[in-house]
Symmetry: C2
Subunit: 406 residues, 2 copies
């Protein structure tokens, strides 16, 4: 199979140019004009290969290359067609145009598959226009309820349902798609692991679980000049002791644990007042549910002890608790085997970010293939991957689909 | 001398009720209607004791009880008549009405002094209406220049000079007041040292020097899920290591050193991004100039080393560097002697905040007397001191003035 840089570049530029704004980057929000244009253009593209295409009720696009022996069973690939505002040209849509190129080359070189091959261009994953994520994939498995979105409005005050109906779509009947034998998603890594390790293909074995917290420290606001150190209840000091302690513990625990204190808001946040209150966030991820649970429980206890020692009240609010999701072991080993056979430079790794595959994985044997992100940059117009690496990723996908469908 | 709670309460309520707003707290901004009302009312009050009164060009009020032997030499007391917005009823004006009560009782019980006694109601100290501090005391010693304030406007866009002229005042001739043999300022502590130590009178021996910094850390913003711990340049982590290290060092150095990290602003300041940039402030104070200099130099070097180790750029901007100011040793020992002789419960201490006395001290033998602030609260309508403690403070002032002028 000879997937050329020129063809990849052309297909990538064609799809990423369909944007709500004139750059920088690609902006294609759910149910926006460019979103509809992209879905319709993809349908034509798929049909040009002789694929049978259909939209479901909410606007997920399915293109099927009908199999010769078991056409009712499907091997699917794809990803989401929506982007964040001023996003990159690869997040989501690589899985769609990469799937298209893989299927195109398989058809050209190997002819019709035994099982059907399906490309799914999913309506939505990012939650960028409306505060709801995985609208596309959740609808495929009857997991989204109308009442989850009927009250949602975008930044301009447009309602979710109005936007959906404006594109000619509507709520589905909740039926669960049950014709898939496997789902493989090609995606950019959005991190710098592959780049740092000098590897071209990531074979994803799991998607991390995530716990997110809002934590509030309440001490005492005091004059920065007249309050001796021993009389202070300084919440920035307390925050700092918590951060140092928890990050040291996280580093000692090692990969794949990641721990982030991304937001810090002291009050009154001024140079000459000992900060009497500080709000901060904690984001902790790991691929092992039990480990994540035990580790964060330990951090919670440690934070309470550090605060108590300083005479500071602490309020810990764990507002997100998503379990890790494992990819299918058989699918993972098939992708690995394919990579070895074709001498692709690969590593097995986990995903630190969420993906459509986490909705598929509990219901369908699922795997993911990553390509490197230059400097790990994503959700940004500067998001990029070397064209040669994109070719390698698409090849890994094509060979895997071949293994599963031919 | 019998200074009664009832009289103190009445005088305090009378003066603090002259406010630009109807509470809570007292608001009396420079050259505002209530500011002018207060200065004129104080002039009448002083005159009712037989004092000679005059305003200088910028609106500082001087009330003189003429001495019987060396009337041309003066022992002065006083403080500033302006307040912060919604300030307390004691900051500044305690030094004026307390001075008035001290002089009144000295006159009643001891008659006319040998040297003249002078009460100064200073125009401005807080910098609350216009961003300029010590306008009153600086003008007394020819230290303020017209070009420092001609461009200043208040929050409503009113110019400094227009506000000044609207009250009937104007720039002075820059002459330096040279008739003072001593200046004693009575003030609330604005901290909780006296309260915690169960002491009623603070004899101030120095006002701290202050250094203030803006510090910027520049690392790398990264995805909180996909960036392994070892690839991060996390500026909140770096900030936290700096804060813990520096505060531990400050506590080890002991009183009177105080160190505050009051402001922290990470970017982008969101739960799921490793913060790529963090701005924070550092405020460090000590009574010994050489120690303050050496200690902050050490902190600067330590911060640079901590940042360098983390691969993070650091930019350190020291935008304020005020030297400590010593009170006059002879005046301090006179106040101490008076407190011992009258069995006042006192301690020698430093001031962690700035005061008019720091402008006087390099030019006139100067001392300060503190009374406790309940819970250390100040610049707040809840600012308060027990009436009994106010009486003790006014007594300490009166006996000191007696020692110096009779």
């Amino acid at each position: 199979m000879n997937i050329e840089v020129a063809e990849v570049r052309q297909t990538l530029e064609w799809l990423s140019s369909i944007s709500d704004e004139t750059g920088p980057g690609t902006t294609r929000l759910l149910y926006s004009p460019s979103w509809l244009t992209a879905q319709k253009a993809l349908k034509e593209k798929f049909e040009s290969l002789g694929m049978e295409c259909r939209f479901d009720a909410v606007g997920n696009l399915f293109g099927t290359l009908v199999g010769s022996e078991s056409p009712e069973r499907k091997i699917a690939t794809g990803s989401h067609v929506d982007t964040v505002v001023r996003g990159g040209k690869l997040d989501g849509q690589l899985g769609i145009f990469g799937g298209y190129l893989a299927v195109k080359h398989l058809l050209e070189t190997c002819g019709r598959p035994k099982k059907s091959l399906e490309i799914i261009s999913m309506a939505e994953e990012e939650g960028s226009r409306f505060p709801y994520v995985f609208w596309g994939s959740k609808n495929i498995f009857g997991l989204a309820r109308p009442e989850d979105v009927t009250h949602l409005k975008d930044g301009q005050g447009v309602g979710f349902v109005d936007a959906m109906r404006g594109c000619g779509f509507d709520f589905g009947d909740g039926k669960v798609k049950d014709d898939l034998d496997a789902f493989i998603e090609l995606h950019i890594e959005q991190g710098n692991f592959l780049e740092e390790e000098n590897v071209t293909v990531g074979v994803v074995n799991s998607i991390v679980g995530q716990k997110r917290y809002n934590i509030t420290l309440r001490g005492e606001a005091n004059h920065a000049g007249t309050t001796l150190m021993r009389y202070r209840k300084d919440t920035v000091e307390c925050l700092s002791r918590i951060v140092v302690h928890c990050l040291d513990k996280a580093k000692a625990a090692g990969d794949p644990l990641v721990l982030t204190f991304g937001k810090v808001v002291p009050k009154p946040n001024t140079v000459n007042v000992v900060p009497g209150e500080t709000l901060f966030t904690m984001d902790c991820r790991h691929t092992d549910a039990a480990f994540l649970q035990a580790f964060t429980a330990e951090l919670e206890a440690d934070m309470k002890a550090i605060a108590a020692k300083a005479g500071i009240d602490i309020e810990i609010d764990n507002w997100m608790n998503e379990k890790p999701v494992s990819m299918d072991a058989n699918v993972v080993s098939i992708i690995e085997r394919v990579c070895r056979a074709r001498q692709l430079n690969y590593k097995v790794m986990h995903s630190g970010a969420g993906h459509d595959s986490q909705i598929f994985a509990p219901r369908v044997p699922t795997g993911m293939i990553f390509v490197p992100s230059i400097k790990g940059i994503s959700h940004n117009p500067a998001e990029d991957t070397k064209l040669e690496d994109l070719c390698e990723g698409i090849k890994a996908l094509a060979y895997t689909l071949h293994e599963l469908a031919y």
